[in-house]
């Protein structure tokens, strides 16, 4: 178990003394009234930059070669079934892994924004696991395939319609070399 410091923030603020909606109270507003400064929080630092590529230490270095970039696998709404049309994408990854024995793959499972965030975290994991199972069936050793679910937290497309949702329901591949 490791420990990290919690970075307490914080920002000063005006004294916005409430009390709207408290019928019958002697005074509706305290000093300063209900105004508030929403921009008092300091800018976020950049410590979190690159966190999406952070890995469990054992994975090795991210491979950025063009031939290690693979298409995302698409899913139907609330489904982790791999459609016939998506199989070739996974087969391409399997070919690469078989041809490059020192590599491992991390499969990121993603969902669209509909549904509960907690359920979507589980659904995204299921999507990544379904891809993993197919890779294993194609002859890739299970210990070379890691999964990570982002649920609905990392959309590729920030829109809110069918086209955006289709892009966001995906399994994505990152390859690592030891």
């Amino acid at each position: 178990m490791k420990r990290g410091p919690i970075r307490m923030v914080i920002a000063a603020a005006t004294m916005a003394v409430l009390v709207l909606g408290a019928a019958g109270c002697k005074s509706k507003n305290g000093p300063g009234g209900p105004g508030l400064d929403v921009d008092v929080l300091p800018p976020f630092d950049t410590d979190g930059a690159g966190w999406t590529q952070a890995t469990r230490s054992e994975f090795g270095d991210l491979i950025t070669d063009a031939n290690a970039k693979f298409e995302n696998v698409s899913f139907a709404y609330d489904s982790f079934t791999i459609a016939q049309s998506e199989r070739r994408k996974i087969e391409a990854v399997a070919d690469y892994l078989v041809g490059n024995p020192q590599t491992t793959v991390v499969i990121d499972g993603h969902c669209d924004e509909r549904g509960s965030r907690e359920y979507n975290l589980s659904l995204g994991e299921h999507r990544a696991l379904a891809i993993r199972a197919y890779l294993i069936s194609l002859g890739v050793a299970g210990d070379r395939i890691h999964t990570r679910s982002f649920g609905e937290e990392q959309p590729l497309d920030h829109g809110h319609g069918d086209a955006s949702w289709l892009v966001n329901r995906r399994g994505a591949f990152s390859l690592f070399r030891k």
Binding site: G30, P34, F44, G48, A54, S116, S122, H126
Partner: protein
């Protein structure tokens, strides 16, 4: 007068959060609450007229906050005309401290509830007001007050997601993390001194504990796959959580002292999520999609065959198991998530509490088993609201820009 001397317990929270962002609470436009219990007609008239003070800023602030707290409790109307409950005494600032001497009595029955003295730094006048308001609610109504409680939640501002805590009156917003990464599922420990939550700060969904007293964050569960949804048992000794380390997302419990895991669900072809403990700690409710769509199930704390409890709606997710034994959850009806209550005594899914054509998600019971905090999404913007199951208007807790979701009410 036989005053009982009592110092307001210092809020650990306020001590560690040096500076606070204060928000204004405001009445929401949302009026879609269905009255399910006693209504406004049964509120008790209460007078603060004989509680004298207000000459200084701190005294005035104390009285304003006390009044707002008593109104927000839902049990009283504050009125000087024909009061039933009377608070009388003095609030006075001397130097940098505020002293409140107050007795509470029922003018109709003659019943005397209590007399207490509250002393607090003048700058912390609201804390004294919250303590007195909660004492009044408990003495007169025999139920817990919520004035001193807080709500943890996730805020997303320009895509930067972090953990926040806010007072249940919409004051004292505190940013707890500055990671700007996906953060989910905050949960209080029963003593309200720590929070568990899920963060991607190290790249993967792992469970962290934030000790609010020592201002320290520790990663506590980090198996391969997802580690999320941690909820502390009522005795504080166990977590219920979701892990996928054994193949797919399943519910487990973990003893905090030993780390020993017990697997609760075994569904090779289904995803589980959102475990919650029953108030007696003997059962767990959770979400499973084993029928093809997510619904809520209940099982024993050691596992066993889960029993499905929700059948209405296309989906039922995000249960919160209240202190009186009722569950509240989000039920997808006509394409929108509405809040529903399940009463295990009657084994009945009640009609939705909400009917507006917006999404109502992640409900969490207040310790008074009357109010519910939830995330309301309208036009793809989420904010946190408080709903009164007895019919008072909803209150918007987070008028700030940004998205606010996963609210969880502190247990005290």
């Amino acid at each position: 007068m036989n005053y009982i001397r009592q110092f307001c317990r210092k809020s650990v929270w306020l001590a560690l959060s040096s500076v606070l962002v204060l928000l204004a609470l405001r009445l929401a436009s949302a009026q879609d609450i269905r009255i399910v219990g006693v209504g406004a007609d049964l509120k008790i008239p209460l007078s603060l007229h004989e509680l004298t003070g207000g000459a200084t800023v701190a005294e005035k602030r104390f009285l304003d906050v006390l009044c707002a707290d008593l109104v927000r409790s839902g049990w009283f109307t504050v009125s000087d005309a024909a009061p039933v409950i009377v608070l009388r005494g003095t609030c006075q600032v001397a130097g940098s401290s505020l002293e409140v001497r107050c007795e509470v009595l029922n003018r109709v029955t003659g019943k005397f509830y209590f007399a207490r003295v509250y002393r607090e730094e003048a700058a912390r006048a609201p804390a004294a007001a919250h303590a007195l308001a909660d004492a009044v609610v408990e003495a007169v109504k025999g139920v817990k007050g919520i004035a001193s409680t807080r709500i943890a939640m996730i805020g997303s501002r320009e895509g930067m997601k972090d953990l926040y805590v806010i007072g249940s009156d919409g004051q004292d917003l505190v940013l707890l993390t500055r990671d700007g990464v996906p953060s989910l599922s905050p949960a209080w420990t029963p003593d309200a001194r720590s929070l568990f939550y899920t963060s991607f700060v190290r790249g993967f969904p792992d469970v962290y504990r934030i000790d609010l007293e020592r201002v320290r964050r520790t990663r506590v569960v980090a198996f391969p796959g997802i580690n999320t949804g941690a909820q502390v048992s009522p005795d504080g000794r166990f977590l219920a959580l979701v892990l996928s380390k054994d193949g797919n997302p399943e519910i487990y419990t973990q003893e905090l002292s030993s780390g020993k895991l017990t697997r609760i669900t075994r569904t090779a072809h289904a995803a589980e999520a959102s475990p919650v403990w029953s108030p007696d700690g003997r059962q767990l409710a959770f979400v499973s999609d084993s029928t093809g769509a997510p619904h809520i199930y209940v099982t024993g704390r050691e596992g066993g065959k889960p029993q499905r409890i929700t059948f209405r709606g296309n989906e039922n997710v995000s249960p919160s198991w209240g202190p009186d034994g009722r569950l509240v959850y989000s039920s997808r009806r006509l394409g929108r998530y509405q809040l529903c209550i399940y009463d295990p005594q009657k084994r009945m899914e009640q009609e939705p509490l909400t009917t507006d054509a917006v999404d109502h998600e992640n409900p969490s019971w207040a310790p008074n088993a009357r109010h519910i905090v939830y995330s309301r999404t309208e036009g793809y913007a989420a904010s946190v609201y408080i709903l009164d199951t007895m019919g008072d208007p909803q209150l918007q807790l987070t008028p700030l820009k940004g998205d606010w979701y996963f609210p969880v009410w502190s247990p005290r």
